[in-house]
């Protein structure tokens, strides 16, 4: 029975990871952070004055590590104060921590836009105040959704032993450190998977499908939307249709496979039977299942790539 509840908590973690990474990707698109930022930064230098929000805090991984770690630290401090209340204190601690974390993130992104645009003085890029103010609240709210999910994941992992009733299932790492690791991971997945849907599908919308981008055209981003001048907020609504959920799915699947193989390994190692647990067998099964999952994924990816190459052919140039 405890193993079933362990499995249920694992599914909760995977679901939270899906939500977290979806909102993380949309938030980074609102401020054009990470990879597309290089083109947003380059555009005024090439003479293309734009109305995008330039949020160059750092890479996505680090900026999410910052907001998630601050959230985890505040949550940890609140949990320490209400230790006598028990797990119920998390109802207060996690949202308050996430609110502080996203507040810090909003402050950091506000300094970015003005800093980068002021450094574009000689290219005649003005600071549009409506762009500046209008993007701060969407950034804070999307960030809050991502950070609250990550803090909840870290909290569940920290207290899994108490929550599921399986002794020894709790993660040995403290809450802020888990938040740091998960923040880095969610940022990394959001950057690697999500940026493609912003960069190549939105910032460079006018190029033929499958074509590479020559260096000559760098900085030549799409500055006009369906109606009027495009801002970064329009990008979020575009990416919410496919890019965000796809990124969330990537991260959710990673978390799901990772936890699934661990739980199956624990089950086969005799964790459910009192006194019969064998860590070596559990670890062997866990690693074995992980290798099988990796091989299946590699074969699937290779098949998809071959199919796409056969269907669309090589890059032919302009």
């Amino acid at each position: 029975m405890p193993v079933i509840s362990l499995f249920a908590w694992m599914l909760v973690i995977a679901f939270l990871a899906f939500i977290a990474c979806m909102f993380e990707d949309l938030e980074s698109d609102i401020g054009s952070q990470s990879n597309p930022n290089s083109q947003i930064q380059l555009a005024p230098e090439m003479g293309y004055i734009h109305r995008y929000f330039n949020k160059a805090i750092s890479g996505e991984g680090l900026s999410y590590a910052l907001s998630c770690t601050i959230s985890g630290t505040i949550a940890m401090l609140i949990l320490l104060q209400f230790e006598s209340v028990g797990p119920k204190a998390a109802i207060l601690a996690i949202p308050v921590g996430a609110a502080v974390g996203s507040l810090v993130h909003m402050v950091r992104s506000s300094t970015c836009h003005v800093g980068r645009e002021a450094a574009h003085k000689r290219f005649e890029q003005p600071i549009y105040l409506d762009v500046f103010y209008g993007h701060l609240l969407p950034i804070a709210t999307h960030n809050f959704m991502a950070v609250i999910c990550i803090t909840a994941i870290a909290y569940i992992q920290c207290n899994l032993g108490i929550l599921s009733g399986v002794t020894g299932a709790s993660n040995p790492f403290p809450l802020p450190l888990l938040c740091l690791i998960w923040g880095l991971t969610v940022g990394a997945i959001g950057s690697s998977t999500g940026d493609i849907h912003y960069g190549t599908e939105r910032a460079f919308q006018d190029k033929p499908f499958g074509e590479g981008r020559r260096v000559v055209y760098h900085g030549q981003i799409c500055r006009y939307g369906d109606c009027g001048v495009r801002t970064s907020k329009d990008v979020a609504s575009f990416c919410a249709k496919f890019g965000g959920p796809a990124t969330g799915l990537a991260f959710g699947l990673i978390v799901l496979f990772e936890n699934w193989r661990t739980v199956i390994g624990m089950l086969l190692g005799g964790l459910s039977i009192e006194g019969l647990a064998n860590p070596a067998v559990a670890a062997t099964w866990g690693i074995g299942i992980g290798v099988v999952i990796a091989i299946v994924l590699v074969i699937l990816a290779r098949t998809l790539e071959k199919w796409a190459r056969n269907k669309y052919g090589p890059f032919v140039g302009e």
Binding site: S38, I49, S58, E117, H120, R122, I127
Partner: protein, 293 residues
Amino acid sequence: MGEEEAKQAKQEEKEEKAKPKEEFRLSFDYFNESRLGIFALTICVLIAIFPGLPAFIKGIGIMIVFAWGADSVRKTARYGLGTGVPSIGVLAMGFGIIGGITGIAVASMSFGTLVVGGVEIAFGVLAGVALLALLGFVSGNLANGDKFINMKIPGLERGMTELGIAGTLAVLIEISIVVGTYDPAKVLPNVINNGLIAAIFIISAFGMLQPYNTCLGADERRARTLLMSIEIGGIASIILGIATTLTLSAVQGVPLIVLGAVVWVVFYRAYMKACMDEAYAVKGTGLIKTLGG
């Protein structure tokens, strides 16, 4: 030729105009790269070896060390290290964690800490600072040397050395804020086991990496960039102040929170004002200038 002369004249005019503006920020014009380094090293070593100082003085120390670290990142990354800027800041804090732990380990030995008239002087932490200065110099040489990676970045050796020292001092001062001593029996449960080290790591990394990464561009100005590092020092003070209030004592923590809040408001305002003043234009709204039809 005429155009060029006109441009030069314009630039000179601009410089002349900019001079009276910078008067109220005299500090960063006086504290050029070398002076800031010497000043920060002296003050922060003094703060680091006296763990008994009040927390708000240590709070001023972390602001100074952030400014120095951000200046070193700027120095290292100025030669076209676009996306590498955050990595340099994280590298500094990686140095810092190693140096901080080494320093605390040496300070906990019998010869590491002197007690003169009841005042604790932890000379041992300087061993960590010296080790990381050496490590930074060696890694800078490895990256720049002809026989090794040969990156040929001017001033990389000096930048890496400074980053090692600044990172170590930041970690040491922040640990001494939260714990009030370098005794490993108190440092381990209050900083490392409860995970506060993660917050120390990431906030200090941002204090060093974010200013230059955010202000990067053709018209970046050093004084403006460094204003932001002190502003992040304010945020770090607030967060460490909350941690100190809840784990050590309110007498130490509350003045630190007040200091952090005041510094944050003053320097955030100064930074935003500097950016808005120096931007090409600040418009409420407007359409973009269209090139080529």
